[in-house]
């Protein structure tokens, strides 16, 4: 080895060393807000799960717990939606988005303490909103049930978070802007716009008549497509290459996927209103845009698949990767299903049936929530400085929720189609169509119990991690025996 190479080696080592120091400083700076957002998210996940389970059981036993007004289906069901959407999913997305942004901009989160107040405001808003729904003060607009005094708090909090994300992006280190950053920046700008516009038009200064339905579903679908989806895609784009140590397959596919998503997803909402009193062009444009979603979906699917291909055995040992890839596959499935559901001749069967509920759980749970689990498994050891205490609990968590959600989607889809065909058949009474759906709803309640168990396992493991339970581990918490995976464990 000549002296020049030695010098170069030395420079390379200090470069890598410097990168590690930089990462450590970034993780330390995001620590409090990320932990706070994640902890509260998991709290609301448990609360939302209980509401969801109660609502599911009420579909089978309508008189169950009906002696208390605040536990009736009409309140429990929106409480479930809002607890999981604004209590669990959004804070999980915020925590993940902030951490990813800081890492990819290579810039620490400045004045992180102010973001703690954002987390407090957010949770206050969610708590007040859920209580208001249970107390009977819901706005009765799907996805926007929170009364103004709760949604206002959420908006203030979100404004703060958005500003932080944009400021972080502004102060990024020079160099290439990675695809995850595009999605996160876009999502942090899109959501406050969606939330404020639709709340203004529906809850503060109501617009007239049928236009309310249009605004309602413009929000209802865009909150999925322009908020939850981009954050989850950013997470997948980060975690798969990061854990595998491979570059993302194609920058050009990333570009095509991002811009077609931005272009087509924003038109999708009106497909909820097929058959409604809306000008034909609104509905038809939405049908076309919904089918066009095939383009960004196959684009990202190809990109993820080609990045992972040849390394699928990593799913055996990496919890992060297993949850994330499960979510990525379900993104393709959920979006493909959504495109077909927008086609009017199929929509006529599935509209107003449990099939739609199956679809929304495929999207919000099997895709988004699973990806967030993957992110939490990856990020938490870094911000807390402690490995996950139990590999067994992670395994239980995965199998309970994976089996639970697959089972739920299947039974709701089958039951929904049968229900839809019965509703279309003039020789079948409405009551008969309910009876046809009934056994499938029982199975759905069963799948809900699996999910509930999985969430409890996850919450226990998370709490043990926060408490730095047990002995300090020297390596990552992986599935399987350590010896088998020695060669690859360095990545996680």
């Amino acid at each position: 080895m000549n002296p020049t190479t030695q010098e170069e080696n030395h420079a390379a080592v200090s470069h890598a060393e410097r990168d590690r120091l930089e990462r450590a400083a970034i993780d330390a700076s995001t620590r409090l807000p990320v932990i706070l957002f994640y902890s509260s998210a998991i709290f609301w996940l448990l609360v939302g799960t209980v509401f969801g389970l109660l609502a599911a059981i009420k579909m089978n036993i309508p008189t169950f717990l009906d002696q208390w007004g605040w536990l009736t289906f009409g309140r429990i069901r929106p409480a479930h939606l809002n607890a999981v959407a604004y209590g669990w999913a959004s804070p999980a997305a915020i925590g993940t988005g902030l951490w990813l942004m800081a890492r990819l901009c290579r810039t620490p989160l400045k004045h992180a303490k102010l973001l703690i107040s954002a987390a407090v405001f957010w949770n206050l808003g969610v708590a007040i909103g859920i209580c208001a729904i249970l107390a009977g003060d819901s706005r009765s607009i799907e996805w926007l049930e929170f009364p103004n005094y709760a949604s206002g708090l959420l908006f203030i909090s979100y404004g703060l978070i958005s500003v932080w994300a944009v400021v972080m992006f502004h102060f990024r280190q020079p160099g290439h802007v990675y695809v995850s950053q595009w999605y996160i920046l876009a999502a942090f700008l899109w959501f406050p716009w969606l939330y404020s516009t639709s709340n203004l038009l529906l809850n503060f200064e109501q617009i007239q008549g049928g236009a309310q339905g249009a605004v309602n579903w413009w929000f209802g679908h865009n909150v999925l497509g322009l908020w939850f989806t981009p954050i989850a895609l950013a997470t997948i784009y980060y975690l798969i290459p990061k854990v595998l140590g491979r570059p993302i397959h194609s920058y050009y596919l990333s570009i095509l996927g991002f811009w077609t998503l931005a272009l087509f997803y924003s038109w999708n909402g009106m497909h909820h209103l097929i058959g409604g009193p809306f000008p034909a062009w609104m509905i038809s444009a939405s049908v076309v845009a919904s089918v066009m979603m095939v383009v960004p979906v196959i684009t990202t699917a190809v990109n993820f698949h080609m990045t992972t291909v040849g390394h699928f055995n990593a799913l055996k040992w990496s919890p992060t990767l297993r949850f994330t890839v499960f979510g990525a596959v379900c993104y393709t499935l959920a979006s493909g299903q959504g495109s077909t559901m927008a086609i009017p001749s199929l929509n006529v069967i599935t509209h107003f049936t449990h099939y739609t509920i199956g679809h929304s759980h495929l999207g919000m749970y099997a895709f988004f929530t699973m990806v967030m689990y993957g992110a939490i498994y990856y990020i938490m050891p870094r911000v807390v400085g402690w490995e996950w205490p139990s590999s067994r609990l992670i395994r239980w968590h995965f199998w309970l929720v994976a089996i639970g959600i697959v089972f739920m989607v299947i039974v709701l889809s089958v039951g929904g189609v049968l229900q839809g065909l019965a509703l279309l058949n003039p020789n079948v009474t409405f009551m008969k169509s309910l009876e046809i759906a009934r056994p499938w709803l029982w199975m759905r309640s069963g799948s809900g119990i699996l999910l509930t168990a999985g969430h409890i396992v996850f919450a226990v493991n998370f709490t043990l991690l926060l408490l730095k339970f047990g002995k300090r581990r020297s390596g990552p918490t992986l599935f399987g025996k350590r010896a088998e995976v020695e060669s690859e464990m360095h990545a996680v």
């Binding site: 590690r20 930089e22 102060f171 990061k242 034909a280 684009t299 870094r382």
Partner: protein, 259 residues
């Protein structure tokens, strides 16, 4: 950007120093072992992805051509083709049936008092079925009937031998074609039979009586000589006959019954 201009071999920049109390090496096993931040490779977009995109664009464009209703805010029926031979075939042919339009105007404006049965309410609202006021029997003329609808009627009147004493409001806000249609309707429904009224005839009387201050009374009307309208010309009320070759999609009033 000046804040990031430091070179790679210098110690971590100022903004990282605030975390020096954090024992990085000991705590961050996860950070020590992780691989570098993700980067991009530059594989080209597969040809088949482009092909799928193009095929979908063509499909989407044709779908919109067929089912967008010409992007008009008044077309609600998706299945009304906006273009092509189908559109021509389904475009409304000929005039609107005044009985259909008349029934709609009647249901919306008149039925509350005169009742859907046309029998009115005894003692309160006079009947239209068999009424000499409607079919121009006795001293009544078609011109009287149009005046009543345009300007209203008040004070004691006699209908089918029974006395009534109330107020009928004026209906000037209705279009000539609508008044003509509703009059044609009530003159040919419930067993009534009288010649139709045309929009031109309504327009003529509307012009003659413009500025009439208040509802007519029976005495006012009796002072006007009765006229019987000629059987209306074959043409339909104005403004409802589309140009024969026009492929323009229908207005909502015309398409609604199909829906």
């Amino acid at each position: 950007m000046s804040h990031s201009s430091h070179s790679h071999d210098t110690p971590p920049p100022e903004e990282f120093r605030e975390h020096d109390d954090f024992n990085i090496r000991e705590v961050h096993g996860a950070i020590m072992r992780e691989k570098s931040e993700p980067r991009d490779a530059f594989a080209p977009i597969p040809l088949w992805v482009i092909a799928v995109f193009m095929a979908l664009l063509i499909w989407g464009a044709s779908y919109l051509v067929y089912y967008s209703g010409g992007f008009k805010s008044t077309v609600f029926n998706r299945y009304q083709p906006a273009w092509g031979a189908e559109a021509l075939a389904s475009a409304p042919k000929g005039p609107v049936d005044p009985m259909v339009l008349g029934k709609r105007v009647f249901t919306a404006n008149c039925a509350a008092c005169h009742q859907p049965t046309g029998l009115g309410v005894p003692g309160a609202f006079p009947p239209l079925a068999g009424s000499e006021w409607v079919v121009s029997g006795d001293w009544h003329g078609d011109n009287h009937l149009v005046r009543v609808v345009l300007h209203g009627l008040q004070g004691p009147i006699d209908v089918e031998g029974k006395p009534f004493n109330g107020v009928m409001p004026p209906w000037q806000q209705l279009k000539d074609a609508e008044i003509a249609a509703v009059l044609t309707y009530i003159r040919n429904e419930w067993g009534n039979s009288a010649p139709p009224v045309s929009a031109e005839q309504v327009a003529k009387i509307r012009a003659e009586t413009a500025g009439h201050p208040q509802p007519f009374t029976e005495a006012d009307l009796k002072a006007i000589p009765a006229e019987k309208f000629e059987a209306a010309p074959a043409a339909a009320p104005e403004g409802t006959t589309p140009p024969a070759a026009s492929p323009a999609p229908a207005t909502p009033a015309e398409t609604a019954p199909k829906a």
